[in-house]
Symmetry: C2
Amino acid sequence: MAEAMELEKERERERAITPRSEDYSQWYVDVVQRAELADYSPVRGCMVIMPYGYAIWENIQKALDKRFKETGHQNAYFPLFIPYSFIQKEAEHVEGFSPQLAVVTHGGGQKLEEPLVVRPTSEAIIGYMYAKWIRSYRDLPVLINQWCNVVRWEMRTRLFLRTTEFLWQEGHTAHATREEAEAETHRMLDVYADFAEREAAVPVIKGRKSEREKFAGAVYSLTIEAMMGNKWALQAATSHFLGQNFAKAFEIQFLDRDNRLKYCWTTSWGLSTRFIGAIVMVHGDDKGLRLPPRLAPIQAVIVPIYKSDEERSQVLEVARATLTKLEGAGVRAHLDDREEYTPGWKFHEWELRGVPVRVEIGPRDVEQEQIVLARRDIGGKEGKRAVPQARLVEAVTQLLDDVQEGLFKQALEFREKHTYEPKDYGEFKEAVERGFALAPWCGSAECEAQIQEETKATNRCIPLEQEPLPENAKCVRCGEPAKERALFARAY
Amino acid sequence: MAEAMELEKERERERAITPRSEDYSQWYVDVVQRAELADYSPVRGCMVIMPYGYAIWENIQKALDKRFKETGHQNAYFPLFIPYSFIQKEAEHVEGFSPQLAVVTHGGGQKLEEPLVVRPTSEAIIGYMYAKWIRSYRDLPVLINQWCNVVRWEMRTRLFLRTTEFLWQEGHTAHATREEAEAETHRMLDVYADFAEREAAVPVIKGRKSEREKFAGAVYSLTIEAMMGNKWALQAATSHFLGQNFAKAFEIQFLDRDNRLKYCWTTSWGLSTRFIGAIVMVHGDDKGLRLPPRLAPIQAVIVPIYKSDEERSQVLEVARATLTKLEGAGVRAHLDDREEYTPGWKFHEWELRGVPVRVEIGPRDVEQEQIVLARRDIGGKEGKRAVPQARLVEAVTQLLDDVQEGLFKQALEFREKHTYEPKDYGEFKEAVERGFALAPWCGSAECEAQIQEETKATNRCIPLEQEPLPENAKCVRCGEPAKERALFARAY
């Protein structure tokens, strides 16, 4: 027992989390590591995604993959390696990605004739294959997605948010017309927004990237941007309209109905393991993670409470029956019946790991044929209530829905509270210190660069949905005529 | 119409398949390419897994992943890159893998201080992390699997069977005792065998690899071996008992209950996209693929047959209703309502692509409220029968089970028919020309090497289940005393 207490104390120290108000970056790292989402690896810039973090990724994959298939896409797999000359075929593309490439120069003990790049993204290799596969309008559209790893050499890395290697999906589509390709670009942005808001409870703003921030090789890039707990922005997914840029670079042509040879119109779109970082930062609190029920690896954890052996056997019997009932109803449930930890320690542990609903069962509950449910998003007594055992499944599934909705609402209110519409550059500077600034902007890359230099805020996007500007609206920084509002913020 | 005929003829030529009897290797490549499972890429030794092939892989993943989780394993993700010095820590491991490594020497425009190896397998990097994570017996066992890509530089490659990059899963487990680790090694072999036989309808022989054929760094390797259509063997999956070799190389230690610091016992096990090649070669015939229903992306294809417009609308109405009913019953069904191809062309197309059940619906079937079912594993009239529409779902699901069973039975009979127990080396030489030879063997690597030199056959495994040898049994080649029987065959 003394040993158990000692162990508990040691583990208690290990899982201490820096408060957000003290050091937000350290809070983030503490949560990611102590909740066992990810760990540092001995390879510079690469992380290990631990089982609990990977289980979130699996749930993200399921939710997205279903949506991709429902919108007519199929999965495939293209090579990890890309000949360096391929990357060079699209001028902006090579300029954008060159500084970030990992290069294989030796294979099987021999120096390679042409170095191979480890894919930073796959437009080049997929473009080559599409040129080979597509001949006629009958072959279009081609709607393919791939789940894979990519590598972009990074100087400063953060777990999930920016790592040299990361996991993602990249969709690549080819179409007969510009209209169809543009519709696809928007459709996939909508898929991402729907996923983010419904599954991850992360409210997002849909927008267009500025010329300066767009994907290297795109005509334009669309993005969903979310507000983190420190009021910074995070780009959560992007969808690119590539026009005929890659089609021309890789000769992706088709014989149209009118018997003329034409270049295809292509798109690409991606979401990565970075999204897990967004979930941590949007919902997390000083106790640790708060996971949206639809993506949580464990939706409900059952913690038995007892003192005597007699209580133990009675409580565990009900706890096991509870587990069976919840699992039977499709709830991802877990029974924490470890002997070496106290119920209080377990409460903290599962709060840290963000489990949305806790089911407590003690001797009194057994006697009264009830269970106690505690929700992660509302602490203390307010978030707790007893329900009859007979209503277990109904109560837990309802509570999971409530937590899902509650997290979304809280995040949305937080973002709205910290989004400003500054009247002048003075207010603008204050606004980007305190959150998002939505402001009229002249559209020039120079202005954008100067704003960044002066305030550290970047142009996150030009929101797709916005009120028309009043006549004579002026750029918040330079005073030149403004055409639309852009969203500025500090960003990851 | 003339254009459609022309197109059809062109596509007919494109999908011609070399008969197996003429050139088995070419038959294989024809089937893989024409069924659109995979294609060659511009990167030496790397292939593209096309949507239809990838859909098989997704079904393989689902079937295996379910089994891994049921046996207590979790998924995680470890870095693609491994510092070269890590690979060197286990002596046999580095010797085995060195000639096959792809090496990254440059990242982000800089030469790296230490070259990074693209993982050929992940014992080294995972061993490092386990040493960091495991402290006490309470942390054991660690049961982790990862789905990922690996790279092994290959001189001669074949689609799916041997490619520089391939997809696989690799399980890595750490245990407190030898017994537990050995039990895990065998348990996972059983999981693979169960998967191969039940899901892929591929009969396998479970066995132990010889010292010469075992995994570089293992104490011993277990394997499942299958017979291909040309009577060669293919190693379909392996499970390795690593003893304390990697634990000692990477200092994976734990404090045991007795308060003593001990090395863990570890295992690893893997199955790759190579398995898709096995499915092609075990079941395929001169018409193309024959896919086992449980892994087939499309289990039932509906082909409408009509001439007049009136027939067309009646037939299509029933065809659509049929699709809805099948999908509703969980059958992966597809309606081929393309106008530009004739029913006969479609029959061939879906036979080539291995769809287990074809549903034909013509005007007479509409009138008689029936459908015609044709099974892929039995050709001609024998494999066809009409069933009332009311019995559609029941009949199709039963037929899928029948095809699954039929394919397994056929493959098992084929293997049994071509497995020999030669009495002397003369018979042995003939046997390995015609199939598998199960023969007493002295156990020496020298004998094994000489057999390979003289007959091109390799020692596939020492089958786990075998009758005890008679006293005085002698090695089929050298005549020295034999302890057990080994299975010899030409192999991929």
